[in-house]
């Protein structure tokens, strides 16, 4: 007896093929609707803000007068923030990832910690702002400084950096570790010479992407009380500062008072997008240049 009735199959083939081509367009539509919204946003922002970007806008001090206002202070603030965030997330993130992935015993405690880290990655950023306000600004008395802001943003992205670094370490082929142990290397020697160098490109890529999330964050900085005022350019970690997202936030708020502020906000968005674009390009460059194929 034959289970497959050729005639039936042939009849249904047309239907299956048509369903396939319809679905293809459904998925295309899903992709396009995302792209279209993004394009509208970009076009609107660029057309509104591009004309306002000039040398004075990029290098100047903040001013109430829209014609004179510049955002160098915010750019520098964002830059200093990045340094703090890179320093703490790389050290703490890689350290935690190495411990959890390569040293810790895989048991109940380990999976509990692991689940918690994954959950922390989903905590709203404003909660980290409140934590930073309590611990860094008030308890440790750093005030609304670069250090306090940077530590807060580090905490925010630390879970992401840990998890992505763990994945990078896990992707190192076990056979390489075995080869190293087989030559009499200790665990740390193997991590130092094999696991870390092999995983480093992925770790950096993941960290840079997380970093670009951090520098776009506004909510935690609002809670920390970061101003957008006529303050001197920040020159160090203990200086008060403002950052690009804050600048954008306040200008958008104040656009009700001075109409041109909306254009300045759009111009600042372009600058911030440009910085994010550069960061992501670096990430892609690292990934392509140092990627190992096994």
């Amino acid at each position: 007896m034959q289970y497959i009735d050729r005639l039936q199959v042939r009849k249904r083939i047309n239907f299956r093929l048509r369903l396939n081509s319809i679905l293809k367009y459904v998925f295309l539509g899903a992709t396009l609707s995302g792209l279209v919204v993004l394009a509208i946003l970009l076009i609107r922002t660029v057309s509104q803000g591009f004309a306002w970007i000039d040398w004075n806008f990029i290098t100047g001090h903040l001013s109430m007068d829209p014609e004179k206002a510049g955002i160098m202070g915010a750019i520098l603030g964002t830059f200093w923030l990045m340094l703090v965030v890179i320093f703490f997330t790389l050290i703490l993130g890689m350290g935690a990832a190495i411990y959890l992935e390569l040293y810790a015993k895989k048991g109940r405690v380990h999976s509990l910690i692991q689940t918690n880290i994954a959950n922390l990655a989903g905590v709203p950023s404003i909660v980290y702002g409140i934590l930073g306000l309590t611990v860094f600004v008030r308890l440790m008395d750093f005030g609304s400084t670069v250090l306090a802001g940077g530590l807060t943003l580090s905490l925010l992205i630390l879970p992401i950096v840990i998890v992505s670094s763990q994945e990078a370490l896990r992707a190192v082929p076990q056979t390489l570790g075995e080869a190293s142990y087989g030559l009499g290397a200790s665990k740390w020697q193997t991590i130092r010479n094999i696991d870390l160098p092999t995983a480093l490109p992925s770790i950096l890529t993941g960290s840079i992407l997380a970093l670009s999330r951090a520098i776009g964050e506004t909510a935690p900085l609002v809670v920390l009380g970061i101003p957008a005022l006529l303050i001197p350019f920040p020159g160090g970690f203990m200086d008060r500062f403002t950052a690009l997202p804050m600048q954008i936030y306040y200008w958008t708020l104040d656009a009700a008072l001075v109409e041109e502020y909306a254009n300045l906000a759009a111009a600042s968005i372009i600058i911030l997008l440009l910085m994010l674009f550069i960061l992501n390009s670096i990430a892609i460059y690292i990934r392509n240049k140092f990627q190992h194929r096994f």
Partner: protein, 276 residues
């Protein structure tokens, strides 16, 4: 079946010379005593009692899953890397029990090197691959490293192929070259014993022949334990052979005898291709 039996016949000429060199009364380098091993609940090795003589080639054969890899990985304690493993019994290496707590696994692995089934060079230059072991053990002088690298590559029959491109990434080599590089990397730590887990199973026939010749040449200086699922290979290159089945040693003896007149009927069945 008849054809197969023929294939496994021991080549006469090669055997003669190794017979002179290697009677089983060579000093023993390893001696296992009621060695048992579990992965969690499942027992993979049962009461293994083997004496492995030095400066000769010992082959481990048996159907897949019978514990061959597990056994040779106990000899340099690589099994410890798997968390669920539990070992009982003794393994004496040159008289001391390597399974005792105060024997350092790192020291053991400096004496007992290993070559793996799939060539696994590091994603580094050819030079750095070979220099890895010596550097791990604290050798920093470039002149000494240069010498070790050249000697190891020569001893592994690959120097002429790579001497012009020592700085190139090892991944650019062919599979057979990679495996010989891995052997060179192992020789660079100047081990006494070399463990090999199916070192040619991922290689083409020509590379296999080269690696087999290399292994033959190494036994003057090193004690070699080689796992192979290829019985012709065991017959061609080894001096003694152990036949494993379900985690037990069924038969252990001179290769020539084991392949021509096995004592156990299961060995007979296996070498005649009746199972596995």
């Amino acid at each position: 079946m008849a054809v197969q039996t023929q294939l496994y016949a021991v080549p006469e000429i090669e055997k003669k010379e190794s017979k002179e060199q290697n009677e089983l009364e060579n000093e023993k380098i390893f001696e296992t005593k009621s060695l048992n091993l579990w992965y969690g609940e499942t027992q993979a090795l049962k009461n293994i009692e083997l004496e492995i003589p030095e400066k000769s080639i010992t082959a481990i054969i048996g159907p897949s899953g019978c514990g061959k890899s597990t056994f040779i990985k106990t000899l340099n304690r690589m099994v410890e890397l798997i968390p669920s493993v539990q070992t009982k019994g003794d393994i004496h290496y040159k008289g001391s029990n390597i399974l005792s707590n105060d024997y350092s696994a790192e020291a053991l692995r400096t004496d007992v090197g290993m070559v793996f089934q799939k060539p696994n060079p590091f994603p580094k230059s050819i030079y750095d691959n070979v220099a890895y072991g010596p550097r791990i053990h604290g050798i920093k002088k470039k002149r000494i490293l240069d010498e070790i690298v050249e000697k190891s590559l020569r001893d592994a029959f690959i120097w002429d192929e790579v001497k012009e491109r020592l700085k190139d990434n090892a991944f650019g080599l062919s599979g057979g070259q990679q495996q010989r590089l891995c052997i060179a990397r192992c020789l660079a730590i100047e081990p006494e014993v070399i463990l090999m887990d199916e070192p040619t199973s991922a290689l083409d026939p020509i590379s296999t022949t080269k690696v087999e010749e290399l292994i033959q040449s190494l036994k003057k200086q090193y004690s070699i334990v080689i796992v192979t699922h290829n019985m012709q290979q065991a017959a061609r290159i080894s001096d003694q052979t152990a036949f494993f089945l379900n985690g037990e040693v069924v038969e252990f003896g001179k290769t020539e005898e084991l392949f021509t007149e096995p004592e156990d009927s299961r060995t007979m069945d296996y070498i005649n291709g009746r199972f596995g």
